[in-house]
Amino acid sequence: MNRLQVELPGLSLKNPVMPASGCFGFGKEFSKLYDLNKLGAIMIKATTEEARYGNPTPRVAETPAGMLNAIGLQNPGLEGVLTNELPWLEQFDVPIIANVAGSETEDYVEVAKRISLAPNVKALELNISCPNVKKGGIAFGTIPEVAQELTKRVKEVSAVPVYVKLSPNVADIVGMAQAVEAGGADGITMINTLLGMRIDIKSGKPILANKSGGLSGPAIKPVAIRMIYEVSQKVNIPIIGMGGIESVDDIIEYYYAGASAVAIGTLNFTDPFICPRLIEELPGKLDELGVHHITELIGRSWK
């Protein structure tokens, strides 16, 4: 039996490691570096109904052990993703988790309805937590009732299970998680980026053209761990954990906190081979821990 095999709603994962949305494009660039079949799944870049250019540059700024980004959901739009990106990904035996974004409920519903019918899309990740767009995005992710209603509306039309990506920019993360669970979510992915800003000391102005951006990388890992620790004890749906993972020890920490699978984001930029490397290292780590199957680790910190 495969010690890394993980079964989640809609997702039969040969291992629990996947690149996080927005850090992997639609896979083409990384496919030149390694065989994407090695991945547990791929969370593709957020798709909106219409193509988006995104924000002006500079779009990234480095921070201690992290980075800020304000890309602004640049993507080729639903048609482009359905016509070019998803069919190309069909050559790989890897489930695709399609990140769905919008500015109005109707946008989310439309994208979810159509993208969930693509043969290799096995789950949706509802992006209610992007901090870098003026309308929608994070607004849906900070008011529990709004998040619940949106989840419900998307669930009604989606042909595949729906995971909701939670924003850490809230006072009560458990309340948000429970709201999306009540809305019918099949799972939760967390956390999205934390809102942040850097100011250029020469110009005295924010470095990012968008002024503020989303903080990611190892700097945010403790925030994610705390939130997953709390949420996993209060909901009955699985969590895919993310935020600053750079080693197998980090993956274990996410499992102990209560995650059932993990996504790797920013570290793909630092080490483009990080996903296959950690997948390869995981069995050795399980041996070291005296654990046969990775799922035995879920929630160990509070069980």
């Binding site: 927005g22 850090c23 992997f24 494009g25 083409k28 660039e29 990384f30 030149k32 570096l33 870049k45 193509a51 988006r52 250019y53 995104g54 002006p56 540059t57 500079p58 779009r59 990234v60 700024a61 480095e62 921070t63 201690p64 052990a65 992290g66 980075m67 980004n69 890309i71 640049q74 080729p76 739009g77 990388g217 190892p218 750079e246 920013t266 570290l267 793909n268 930029f269 630092t270 080490d271 483009p272 081979f273």
Partner: protein
């Protein structure tokens, strides 16, 4: 093909104020081709700073498996890189991006190479390759001040070389455009790398000419996945169309992208 390799540091020296010349050895060099490509370097083994640093390739020696990079130690990452000593190793990802097309100019023709500051290094490999192809090169290299000037002699060996400094401490006082406007060089193809205002000034003058410019932009991944370094296209300056500096560039035909 893009490779990741721990490359050996063969030589590492300070060649002008804050400017370092770093010679690396490794099999990755065999993948390098056109001048103007870059490598993405991890300046430390930890996660602070987190991102790699894009640095252009100044010289390629495939026989020795060596390449030379020239960079300015200004921020946290490049200052850390400057502290690496000879015989240690650095984590290099590359070669990345598309360089200057050298086949766009014929033997016997003249290329005008214009560089500004830390945009000068990739022009050195370009000048070498063009010279090997029998192309005459004229170099106009702009710097802030005399103590930041580098490679003036190396360029002079390859062709007519003009140095400008903003403060007039070496060569012509002012900008590269002062020299260009004064001499009105006769050339077939323009190749340039440097700060945006300089590239804009060149574009204003040579929009109708055959030319290629290399852009600098803050990058995340360096391979085209993160969408940090995108530019609008000149034909559709506010539309959804774009190019990525890291993987579609960094070299673009003059006038193709919006310089912002």
């Amino acid at each position: 093909m893009i490779q990741q390799e721990m490359m050996n540091i063969i030589k590492h020296q300070n060649i002008a104020k804050d400017i370092y010349e770093l010679t690396l050895q490794g099999t990755l060099v065999q993948e390098m081709g056109e001048p103007g490509q870059f490598v993405h370097i991890r300046t430390n083994s930890g996660v602070d700073p987190l991102l790699r640093r894009p640095i252009s390739i100044a010289h390629i020696d495939k026989q020795l498996n060596q390449c030379t990079l020239i960079y300015r130690a200004e921020g946290k990452g490049t200052k850390l890189l400057a502290s690496h000593s000879v015989s240690s190793q650095v984590d290099v990802l590359g070669p990345l991006g598309n360089g200057f097309p050298i086949e766009e100019i014929q033997r016997g023709e003249t290329a005008l190479l214009v560089g500004g500051g830390i945009g000068v290094p990739p022009l050195f490999e370009l000048a070498k390759q063009l010279n090997q192809n029998g192309v005459k090169t004229i170099h106009v290299l702009g710097f802030e001040t005399a103590e930041k000037v580098f490679y003036e002699e190396e360029f002079a060996k390859l062709g007519e070389t003009y140095i400008t400094t903003v403060d007039g401490t070496m060569g012509t006082a002012g900008f590269v455009t002062n020299v260009i406007d004064e001499y009105q060089f006769d050339f077939h193809v323009l190749y340039s790398c440097g700060p945006i205002p300089m590239l804009k000034a060149l574009e204003d003058r040579f929009k109708e000419r055959k030319g290629y410019i290399s852009l600098e932009q803050r990058m995340g991944c360096g391979i085209g996945a993160c969408f940090a370094c995108v530019c609008h296209l000149a034909e559709e300056p506010t539309g959804a169309a774009y190019v990525k500096v890291c993987s579609d560039g960094p070299v673009f035909p003059i006038g193709k992208v919006v310089l912002a």
